[in-house]
């Protein structure tokens, strides 16, 4: 039982990290980036290619994060411009369609070019015992990175003037413009941040097992679930939802069976929409 819960927390921190990049972009402009998983994969493939050329793992990881952030900025400056000119439902719909298109293009190109592409970052070391449960070093490192990212994001949004500006746009975009905030610029910065987070997800995911080129839509699905359950635009909500869902996932996999977990997670998302549409910590 202890081991199952601990596994769930480790998995949940990974979920939280996965969801936070999507929830920030959604909170800021109502766009669900369906290409999010493919941006993760793009980061992973860049790291893989660079590592095959003999570049050290850490440097390769940094390049992967930068590449993912770069692609995100490119998407924001091209594809997303017409989306943000729309408002309300039209924006949401156009955003879904265009990012879905981007998902197919990025995913298709990567699968065509690297059909057997996969990133596995081998973190060597004996399992570490946490409250009597032996845990793999790779997934523990992934958890530490996720927690560090959560802490940095919370400090950034809580304490800096720019972070306050981001939150103000989420709450009232017209009000934000009236106090001198440029929503287009802030959205580009947050899209870049979201891309960088996708790059970090690529690293952490491949520390506990290989991340394959075709995993994009699965990642997007989990990010969507975390976004819905956590509440749009909430960093703390994403991680809280991630950990809750991770524990639910582990428990149901252990006591019912692995086959049921995705259905239960989707069920949790559906239930959230019915009971608490704004999510755990959403406004």
């Amino acid at each position: 039982m202890k081991a199952v819960v601990l596994d769930g927390i480790v998995l949940g921190l990974a979920f939280g990290l996965l969801g936070v990049g999507m929830t920030l972009v959604y909170g800021l402009g109502g766009v669900l980036n369906l290409a999010y998983g493919q941006i993760v994969i793009l980061g992973a493939i860049v790291v893989m290619v660079v590592m095959e050329d003999g570049v050290a793992t850490f440097l390769a990881a940094v390049l992967g994060v930068l590449a993912a952030a770069g692609v995100a900025v490119l998407l924001d400056l091209t594809l997303m411009r017409p989306v943000y000119r729309q408002h309300g439902e039209e924006r949401t719909l156009l955003g879904l369609l265009l990012t879905l298109g981007a998902a197919f293009v990025i995913g298709g190109l990567l699968t065509w070019r690297y059909p057997a592409g996969a990133l596995y970052i081998n973190v060597s070391g004996e399992p570490v015992s946490i409250i009597g449960v032996p845990m793999a070093v790779g997934s523990l490192w992934a958890s530490v990175i996720a927690l560090a990212v959560a802490a940095v994001l919370l400090l950034f949004f809580g304490l800096t003037t720019f972070g306050r500006g981001v939150r103000s746009i989420i709450q009232d975009e017209t009000g934000a413009r009236l106090v001198g905030i440029n929503p287009a610029f802030v959205r580009t910065v947050i899209f870049a941040l979201s891309g960088a987070l996708a790059g970090i997800v690529a690293i952490t995911q491949s520390m506990s097992g290989p991340l394959t080129v075709n995993a994009g839509f699965e990642l997007t699905t989990f990010a969507l679930i975390v976004t819905v359950v956590g509440g749009l635009g909430s960093v703390a909500g994403a991680f809280l939802a991630g950990v809750l869902l991770g524990v639910v996932n582990s428990l149901s996999a252990h006591y019912i069976g692995q086959y049921i977990t995705t259905i239960i997670l989707l069920g949790a998302a559906a239930l959230t929409i019915l009971i608490r549409p704004r999510g755990l910590l959403g406004r």
Binding site: T161, R164, R167, Q171, G175, R177, L178, N182, R283
Partner: protein, 232 residues
């Protein structure tokens, strides 16, 4: 200080206001008077950059601000307090004020000036903006606008939805601001209140300036008296 000339603006290609010339001099308080739907809010939104003007120019201190986006106009020194206020409801009152100074950090002096003007805000600074009463929200909206140290403060219907007593207090605060040297442009349906603060006024009707003059002239004008002061 502010010169609006030949301004036309509207929605979906339809002009709501047209040929608007308005001038506000430094240290002056100017009222825009008009009934509901006359185009007061459209005029303010066009000056503030929330709405792209179709024609005409908006110039502040000889700097052409026409067609600049709202955040640039705000940073150039025009603070606009819309009737709907557009506060940040899930943040504390204090955070709302701090954001008013964006992108700068707020200076203590301005914050104290706002708290002096509205002592109520000081008492409630830790409270979430969304939980404040209507009058307090209006005070906060004005306070937030002042945090940017604007050259010109534009207020759209500052007394809408306020009890008469609180509306009176709001206008006393505006008198106080004027004494401090703030330049004001006020749109108001409550014409007697507006004319009591303003030195001059413009009467807006069906999207055009119908009349203009000093407050005393407008107060004595038979048309204004009939239409807005309820005098037969």
């Amino acid at each position: 200080m502010l010169e609006v000339s030949g301004l036309a603006a509207g929605y979906l290609g339809e002009r709501v206001i047209e040929g608007i010339d308005v001038e506000v001099r430094t240290g002056e308080a100017v009222a825009i008077i008009g009934s509901n739907g006359a185009g007061k809010t459209t005029l303010f939104r066009a000056i503030a950059g929330l709405l792209q003007p179709m024609e005409g120019r908006v110039v502040l201190d000889e700097k052409d601000l026409t067609r600049r986006p709202a955040h640039r106009i705000s940073r150039a020194g025009i603070a606009y307090v819309p009737a709907e206020r557009h506060l940040f409801p899930a943040m504390t009152l204090k955070s709302n004020l701090v954001l008013g100074a964006y992108p700068r950090r707020p200076d203590r002096e301005t914050l104290e000036l706002v708290y002096d003007l509205f002592p109520r805000l000081h008492e409630r600074q830790r409270q979430q903006a969304g939980t404040l009463s209507g009058g307090e929200q209006q005070m906060l909206a004005v306070g937030r606008a002042l945090m940017a140290r604007p050259r010109l403060l534009m207020l759209d219907e500052p007394t809408t939805g306020l009890a008469p007593k609180i509306a009176q207090i709001a206008f006393e605060a505006l008198e106080g601001l004027k004494k401090e040297g703030m330049t004001l442009l006020i749109a108001e349906q409550q014409v007697p209140l507006a004319l009591s603060v303003a030195e001059r006024g413009y009467v807006l009707e069906n999207g055009r300036i119908r009349l203009s003059g000093t407050s005393a002239e407008l107060d004595q004008n038979p048309e204004v008296r009939r239409a807005y002061l309820g005098v037969a």
